[in-house]
Symmetry: C2
Subunit: 214 residues, 2 copies
DNA sequence: TTCTGGTTCGAACGTTCGTTCGAATTTTAG
DNA sequence: CTAAAATTCGAACGAACGTTCGAACCAGAA
């Protein structure tokens, strides 16, 4: 029956995601996945064409669910700042509930090749462009003499959010909602407000050559 | 002669860092490095004990230089905000001048094992604690009713900064100094200012179970 | 020149990898 | 019950991996 096939595939994907997150895609062997799932080595290939397809399915399923949920929640919303709040909360709460898959999605971006890479990469691009568009709208609600560069802001936001797999423990004291509201406040205030210019010009600027070895 | 030995080792490390950054540590073979350096496979082992030591030397040398320079520049500085500016500018300008090495330092953190891992990890911890300490000092110069959580702020800062290997092109239009001043402004304003609380409470909060598969 | 110690490398070692194949087993449909 | 289809797996494949070894090479000191 198709149902039990799908369930077992999902189980394999979840287990593989956990191991990929633990020890990275390239140093995980099909034998590791076989051992962890109690499915024989050859048996795994009944559920996927290759190890690379496993990685793809994890990334694509995971991302698909983020996008689907985001579209639902953004529907009908007009206020740019509310949109941004939804975007951040959506991203972080999904991340926290699916740390392994999201770590794999963030950390193993370049482990796919060819069409599979292109497919995931394109979806990420659209996601990034959506964030950038929301930020542009947010920025236009304000007037600032020295607005933050939109590209820097967009990737700073993703950096803040995606870095959490390096430190955040969903089981720990800090709740996801607190994490989200802290990050939203941190980002939004920084993005909109202009206050500390005095300090910036005092920064010593190093010539890059200082850093080169020889 | 010892001089030429060191020079060749440095050359091998730079080349290895470039390839590790391109296709990740675990999917780079010693044969790849041999090909790129024109040093025979066996010859490489005259300059390192193992592939893992290559990775360690890249990470440790790189981090050592960041720390050394940072200590010099922080010496005698008292103002917390100036300290933070120096910290960010130091980190980013080194990152931009050594993208490969820094990508390897950020991205292959868990690829080392045992003592080598512990050694690099400990230095990173101290670096993180230093940043956290500076942020605490910055925060104490202000009084805020709802300050940003210090842990969140610290890792958000590192997320913003370390994420740049995913998008920033040091050869492109955006200069390092602009990148640094934008990120400093973005972070510092967000960290210090309290303004958008109204929007935060309006955020819908999803139950984590929504995100789980089954 | 001869000797010495650092440097280089071709060839091979044993291991592990992703994947395949054919047969055995279980499940489903008629 | 029977036959077809779906599922499972032991065993093996060739390829690629990190590393080693012994010999060859080359510099500078005597």
């Amino acid at each position: 029956m198709a149902k039990s096939y799908d369930q077992k595939l999902e189980f394999i994907l979840r287990t593989a995601a956990r191991i990929f997150a633990e020890k990275s895609y390239h140093s995980t062997s099909m034998r590791d996945i076989s051992r962890a799932t109690n499915v024989s080595l050859a048996g795994l290939y009944h559920y996927c064409k290759s190890k690379e397809e496993l990685l793809f399915l994890i990334q694509d399923n995971c991302f698909g669910r983020v996008l689907e949920r985001l579209e639902q929640r953004l529907e009908g919303v007009e206020d740019p700042i509310t949109k941004l709040g939804i975007f951040i909360e959506n991203h972080l709460s999904f991340f926290a509930a699916n740390m392994s898959e999201m770590k794999v999605l963030s950390h193993e971006a370049e482990s796919l090749r060819g069409d599979l890479y292109t497919h995931v990469s394109t979806r990420k691009d659209n996601y990034t462009k959506l964030a950038r568009q929301i930020l542009r709208e947010v920025q236009q609600t304000q007037e600032s003499k020295e607005p933050i560069d939109l590209t820097v802001a967009t990737y700073a936001l993703f950096g803040m959010m995606n870095w959490i797999y390096n430190w955040y423990d969903p089981q720990g004291k800090l709740k996801v909602s607190d994490l989200a509201s802290n990050l939203l406040k941190l980002f939004l205030n920084g993005f909109l407000v202009n206050r500390v210019d005095g300090h910036l010009h005092a920064l010593p600027t190093e010539s890059p050559s200082v850093w080169r070895l020889s």
